[in-house]
């Protein structure tokens, strides 16, 4: 028995549900019923810092859709007490219905939070574009993921599954780690770079260029976990996916033409999510200590002959690139997340990276930049050579 009260055969309304605790309990009952059916599957994953999660899927088809982006975190299945448990199901394929919302259409807030169903213990968000309901109980560290028909899921849900559940688990149960909208790459000697900026600024392009055309290690494309307690800030991998639109894909002929690169999926607009764990198994890193924050920028007047240029920027500038896109994508993220992002920017040197246009040169530039940073770390402020950037 996974947990929760037994689920009724059919239930269409739940108007008498009193609040988040009762709704969660009923949803857990439905989730347990779906995930204990014949054909239901279980996966055990690494969550970083020695913590482990258990993922229950109502069937192998849903597992195939949602698990690909987490496959690099796989641990051997065993009888363990998980630090986090997720139950995922859809009603169409499992035949297990979900309790109808007891709230009204006026209760959906700007970031998808459901008014009256988010408190210190519970979180509830219905995402309108994906039609996914995510529920979390911080006391039991259980997340529920439900949609009516998983065949209708958008590509981004497959590339970054359970994003809100991971966010809440870190925000409510792990005081020194948080989910961040950023990419991350690094070197074999353990130096990592955080790449920040909203979609379209060159973040994913820089990260992927480091991997495809270079020899850097890859930690994250779009979302990562940062742990920044007393120790040096460290970035952890969450997903092994990379999303590219057709325009960016044209910059990577190797990805576009080599059939052996595995895909997680593609959408009608031509966006593709690549499975980097299968395509580049030796170039992925689960974690790297951070040495700087970079804000990539693709110049409007692209000129392939210009070198990539690094310019120091203040912590506030870095926070403007990191915080809004993180906070607006993650319901429930508030002052605590903002403070942690601010503290991270204050601890690390921040630079703008103006991309020169020649993607093949990015990896080498990043490597030289990190060597320069390391060199400067070992010298006094007066001896530092900023011209090497």
């Amino acid at each position: 028995m996974i947990g929760g009260s037994s689920v009724a055969n059919r239930h269409s309304t739940a108007q008498n549900i009193a609040g988040p605790a009762e709704y969660f309990e009923r949803a857990l009952g439905a989730a347990a019923a779906a995930c204990e059916r014949p054909g239901a599957t279980v996966k055990c994953i690494n969550l970083g810092g020695g913590r482990r999660g258990i993922l229950h899927f109502c069937d192998s088809a849903l597992e195939k859709i949602l698990y690909a982006a987490l496959a690099h975190q796989e641990l051997p299945n065993g009888r363990i007490e998980p630090d986090f448990k997720i139950l995922a199901w859809d009603s169409l394929h499992s035949g297990v219905p979900m309790w109808s919302p007891p709230w009204t259409t006026d209760d959906y807030l700007a970031r998808g939070e459901i008014a009256g169903y988010n408190d210190e213990r519970f979180r509830a968000v219905f995402q309108l574009d994906s039609r996914v309901l995510s529920l979390y109980d911080a006391n039991r560290r259980i997340g529920l993921w439900w949609t009516q028909d998983f065949a209708q899921l958008p590509l981004y849900e497959r590339a970054a599954p359970f994003l809100l559940l991971f966010h809440w688990w870190h925000a409510l149960n792990n005081h020194h780690s948080f989910l961040l909208h950023a990419a991350a790459v690094g070197t074999e000697n353990g130096s990592g770079l955080l790449l920040a900026g909203r979609s379209g600024t060159g973040k994913s392009t820089t990260a992927l260029a480091s991997l495809v055309d270079g020899d850097l290690f890859y930690v994250a494309d779009d979302y990562c976990i940062v742990r920044a307690g007393a120790e040096r800030p460290t970035v952890y991998s969450l997903y092994c996916s990379a999303k590219l639109d057709s325009k960016t894909l044209a910059s990577f002929p190797r990805l576009g033409h080599k059939a052996s690169f595995d895909e997680i999926g593609r959408d009608p607009e031509g966006k593709i999510a690549f499975d980097l764990y299968r395509s580049f198994p030796h170039s992925l890193r689960k974690k790297l200590p951070l040495c700087a924050i970079l804000l990539p920028r693709v110049p409007k007047d692209k000129n392939g002959t210009r070198p990539n240029r690094f310019t120091p920027v203040g912590s506030g500038t870095a926070v403007r690139a990191l915080a809004p896109s993180t906070l607006f994508q993650l319901p429930g993220a508030g002052p605590n997340n903002f403070r942690m992002i601010a503290a991270l920017a204050n601890r690390l040197p921040c630079f703008q990276l103006e991309l020169g246009g020649e993607i093949a040169s990015v990896s080498q530039s990043l490597r030289q930049f990190m060597e320069c940073l390391t060199l400067n770390e070992r010298t006094t402020p007066n001896q530092r050579n900023h011209s090497c950037f």
């Binding site: 970031r111 203040g314 506030g316 500038t317 926070v319 903002f338």
Partner: protein
């Protein structure tokens, strides 16, 4: 306005002051903001509970050769209120602090504060009301957003 004091519109608004600029995020509207130098100095004194009159008096003492301080501060405060970043102090008690601790030491002269507003994240938020639900009560999926090319 002069006798009024204000406070941050929390929890909707979060902010942090950095060496180069102060960054504010309005979690409800999808907008975020920044200002530096004189704006950061005024902000630090407003949110410590000083009345606007006290902030103006302090700046006039500190920058005696600057003429447009009153207008600059009042315009800046008006903008902060219009953007729902600050609200009138609920306690109604304004401090009259002439020696502030949150000064910016490098501020050599007073310049008209500029509130930079960024609205490029609004598409991440649900800002329109929901009207339709399916037979189970779940809202319908949002229509796909048009690209710039489709809009023409």
């Amino acid at each position: 306005m002069a006798a009024t004091s204000y406070q941050v519109n929390a929890p909707k608004v979060v902010y942090e002051a950095f060496e180069d600029e102060t960054v504010l995020i309005n979690l409800d509207s999808g907008n975020y903001y920044s200002f530096s130098e004189s704006g950061a100095l005024i902000w630090s004194r407003i949110i410590s509970g000083e009345s606007i009159a006290s902030v103006i008096e302090y700046l006039q003492d500190r920058f005696p050769n600057t003429t447009d301080i009153t207008v600059s501060v009042e315009d800046f405060v008006r903008e902060l209120v219009e953007e729902n970043l600050i609200v009138k102090n609920s306690s109604g008690i304004a401090k009259n602090v002439k020696q502030g601790k949150a000064e910016i030491p490098t501020l050599a002269r007073f310049e008209r504060p500029m509130l930079q507003k960024y609205s490029d994240m609004q598409d991440l938020l649900l800002l329109d009301p929901i009207h339709e639900v399916d037979e189970m009560g779940w809202p319908h999926a949002l229509p796909p957003k048009l690209t710039e090319e489709q809009i023409g």
